[in-house]
């Protein structure tokens, strides 16, 4: 029963969504502080490449992750520095970095393509792995997967249950108010852009060291944009973001399945399924329908429901803050 196709599929969906979950958490931290790091796609390619190369040369996956984290943090630093210090458009910088990361990773990684290297070892959690169904799906994975789930929780907790989390949110929602309360807005923004970038780096490396093992030009192309879309889809909340990433993974798996069943239909049609679904859900959440659901819900449920369904971006997202 443990290796039934369904269980295996679910386990593979979980595995495949981990990099997205990690990247989404990173970007949520960044955007909640008021900065958009649009360079995710390029950053992920760069860090996937770096992660693999470092791991290959040192024969140590963890050093690979460390290197990838450094690259991610550095790209993010450029975004933060460019927008805060040089007052340039975050979007322009991010976009340029996306293109740069794509080309640079192809160039620097050209001697390392399609060769085997170290990978993250499988690690089943004792006891938990033996729980029927749940065990094999969730606890028969590897450390990166566990890290992703812990990260979701930690990010959520940090944002909504801690004092530094309040400061972080004030920077993204109403920086003047935070500043008047003694919060160093630009410090917050540097900090969380860099941390977020580091996490995106980890996400990139978990492709080359864990999922699509090895390096090839354009290995992770497209996933950065997907992560950015999931951040919006998830309404800047790590928990909803996680569900978004899982939903994305599940529809992708469904698409693959359908494709095998109906070989006569074009591949493109199936590949579009996750996107169409995402747009539909966003439309639904933004429509009157949701309002009505909220108004008919029992009173005690209304507030949490509203908080869950109502999506609004950090109000000061993408704007520069000038301290006198």
């Amino acid at each position: 029963m443990d290796s039934s196709p369904l269980v295996l599929t679910l386990a593979s969906i979980i595995l495949a969504s981990t990099p997205l979950i990690i990247a989404v958490c990173g970007e949520i931290l960044t955007e909640r502080s008021g900065i958009v790091n649009l360079s995710l796609d390029g950053t992920m390619l760069m860090s996937a490449m770096t992660g693999f190369v470092v791991a290959f040369e040192t024969d140590n996956v963890w050093l690979g992750f460390l290197g990838a984290m450094g690259v991610g943090a550095f790209f993010a630093f450029i975004v933060a520095f460019g927008s805060i210090r040089l007052r340039q458009s975050q979007f322009a910088i991010g976009f340029v970095l996306t293109l740069l990361g794509d080309d640079l990773s192809a160039f620097l990684g050209q001697n390392y393509t399609r060769i085997p290297g170290p990978v993250v070892q499988h690690y089943a959690i004792p006891i938990l792995k033996d729980i029927p169904i749940i065990g094999p799906i969730f606890f028969n994975q590897n450390v990166i997967v566990y890290f992703a789930y812990i990260l979701v929780f930690v990010t959520w907790f940090w944002l909504f249950r801690t004092q530094p989390g309040l400061r972080l949110r004030s920077a993204g929602d109403r920086p003047e108010a935070g500043f008047a309360r003694g919060v160093g807005i630009n410090f917050q923004r540097y900090l969380y852009t860099i941390i977020g970038g580091g996490l995106v780096g980890v996400a990139g490396a978990s492709y080359s060291l864990n999922i699509k093992i090895g390096w090839a030009e354009g290995l992770t192309r497209g996933f950065g944009w997907i992560a950015l879309a999931i951040v919006i889809f998830g309404g800047w909340s790590p928990i909803r973001g996680m569900f978004g990433a899982l939903l994305f993974g599940a529809t992708k798996a469904l698409a693959t399945y359908l494709q095998r069943t109906f070989p006569e239909v074009s591949v493109v049609a199936f590949n579009a399924i996750p996107w169409v679904l995402m747009i539909l859900v966003l439309l639904l959440v933004g429509s009157d329908f949701t309002e009505r659901v909220i108004t008919v819900a029992p009173k005690s449920l209304r507030r949490p429901l509203q908080r869950f369904l109502k999506i609004s971006p950090p109000q000061a997202l993408g704007s520069t803050f000038v301290e006198d």
Partner: protein
């Protein structure tokens, strides 16, 4: 809670301990008082303006010191220097006789200074308790201690009569409640000196008197308070001393019992004020604007206007009185095409403009002076000159064949700036750098220079100094004399009574009743504003 002030010496701690014993130098919150704060020779320049020119200002524990001055006189700037938001180029700040360096709001807070800003500084997406806790150390290290914060908030609320729900989100609160949160925030943080920058501008009379109860209590307890307002009566009522600024300089400082309202006004404006302008009789026949059973939603998605009908005739001023948040904003926006009308019709000059775009409505000769100057009225990154022609960019003589005629624009701006007495370094200054009151003047200049058929004026004098208020009133009366139809939406009952020909009262999105200006008495209007319908027969 010692160590509140920077560079505290062992000797001072000794002294404080002594005071702790007889408890005279401490506030009920347990924080030390600031017995004197002095600013000496403060100079602050902005490109093209000397906002503060060697200003001396001081305040003592247990008093409320008023800071008066016209729009752009430099009041907010001086206070922002004290609160560490701006750095002064010259001058020093002394607390209890010791010079202090205030380089950021953080330093100011450490020194026991709190500020209620002209525009509130709350994070709308956080709860009241979270806003209070923001930026403070928590008793649980990195974890929030919102339960303790809430308990303390309730305690302070009790002490000073400030009712708030610590768990409510700030975006859900009315303006008056948000202000209470601001005060609690400052008290929570142990502010011994509180700066209040135009705290009453957005409050209803009822809320103002509640605020004053709180402030009096704070004074008795030994807080030092600085109060900025354009309403002289308030200053006379509650302050003990007054300092008047003009063009960045102190032009007078006096105990309140040695001045009169007239004298203060003269000091501020530098001239005598005129008596209330006289309205002439004029014919009011042609209906310029008519609303029939208009419904519209507010921002929360519930009906903010519930079947409003009204007729506005040429040459009359129709006053819309009401307590803030009863649909005034929705009414103005619905007429001007900025809010979807869910039911009913709006006609201007006989033409149906229900659901029309703002561009079409502007062409129908409707001018709009919005309540939210920055959001609905101005593009804050644009210059003064650009904003002045914003509504007429496509028209002669400002535009020929799609190109802007800069000479004509520049001439027009110079004229308007002069005529409306807008204080700005130049016409090429971005609007965001102007003082609150001057932005309002600019907006009026633009809207009134178009010779409109209908004017929708929402809170046209909010935040304006007395000179400018007088001027705006005169302009509205002149427009009326020329046959313009004016809808005056205001929460200031005195303004409504002084200007209107007819008065309607709006309550929860409905028109409660109409009275002619001659028959109106404030008491009856007050009842209608509170939602009590007039007795049968009246």
């Amino acid at each position: 809670m010692r160590g509140q002030r920077p560079r505290i010496t062992a000797q001072e701690i000794e002294i404080q301990n002594q005071y702790m014993a007889d408890n005279t130098e401490f506030l009920p919150s347990g924080k030390p008082k600031i017995s004197t704060m002095e600013m000496r020779g403060i100079v602050k320049r902005f490109p093209g303006v000397l906002a503060n020119d060697h200003v001396d200002f001081d305040v003592h524990s247990g008093e409320m010191h008023a800071l008066l001055g016209e729009n752009g006189a430099g009041k907010s700037t001086l206070m922002r220097v004290l609160y560490g938001l701006y750095q002064a180029e010259e001058g020093e700040i002394l607390i209890d006789g010791h010079p202090v360096q205030i380089e950021s709001p953080h330093d100011a807070i450490e020194a026991g200074i709190g500020m209620i800003h002209q525009h509130f500084m709350l994070v709308p997406t956080l709860t009241v308790a979270e806003n209070v806790a923001l930026g403070l150390p928590s008793s649980r290290g990195a974890l929030t201690d919102l339960d303790r914060v809430s308990a303390r908030v309730l305690e302070l609320a009790d002490l000073y009569g400030l009712q708030v729900d610590p768990d409510a989100y700030v975006w859900q609160l009315a303006v008056g409640q948000q202000q209470r949160v601001e005060i609690i925030k400052a008290l929570y943080r142990g502010a011994a000196l509180l700066i209040l920058d135009e705290p009453t501008a957005v409050l209803t009379p009822q809320e103002v008197s509640e605020l004053f109860v709180t402030l009096r209590q704070m004074m008795v307890d030994g807080h030092a308070l600085i109060f900025i307002s354009h309403k002289l009566q308030e200053v006379m009522d509650i302050c003990s001393r007054v300092t008047v600024l003009r063009d960045g300089r102190v032009v007078g400082q006096q105990p309140i019992d040695q001045v009169t309202k007239g004298a203060l006004a003269r000091m501020m404006v530098g001239r005598e004020l005129q008596a209330q302008p006289e309205k002439e009789e004029i014919e009011q026949d042609e209906t310029r604007l008519s609303l029939r059973d208009v419904w519209a939603d507010n921002d929360l998605g519930t009906p903010g206007l519930q079947g409003v009908s009204l007729d506005l005739r040429a040459g009359e001023i129709l006053g819309v009185a009401g307590v803030s948040g009863n649909g005034q904003r929705e009414l103005a926006q619905a007429i001007n095409g900025l809010r979807t009308i869910t039911k009913g019709t709006v006609k201007a000059g006989g033409k149906d403009i229900t659901g029309a775009s703002p561009a079409v409505i502007i062409q129908q000769g409707v001018s709009y002076v919005p309540e939210e100057r920055m959001e609905d009225g101005m593009i804050k990154e644009f210059t003064v000159a650009e904003n002045l022609i914003l509504r007429e960019v496509n028209k002669q003589p400002f535009s020929r064949g799609g190109f802007l005629n800069f000479r004509a624009i520049s001439r027009q701006s110079d004229e308007l700036i002069k005529e409306f007495n807008v204080k700005t370094p130049s016409k090429d200054t971005p609007v965001k750098n102007l003082s609150g009151g001057n932005i309002q003047k600019l907006l009026l200049a633009r809207e009134l220079s178009r010779k409109p058929e209908v004017i929708i004026a929402a809170q046209p004098t909010r935040g304006l100094d007395i000179g400018a208020t007088e001027y705006v009133h005169q302009v509205l009366i002149d427009q009326r004399a020329e046959g313009t139809a004016i809808l005056l939406i205001s929460e200031d009952l005195d303004e409504i009574l002084a200007l209107s020909d007819r008065i309607i009262v709006i309550y929860e999105g409905e028109i409660m009743g109409e009275v002619s200006a001659e028959k109106a008495d404030p008491e009856q209007l007050g009842l209608l504003m509170a939602g009590v319908r007039s007795q049968a027969g009246e």
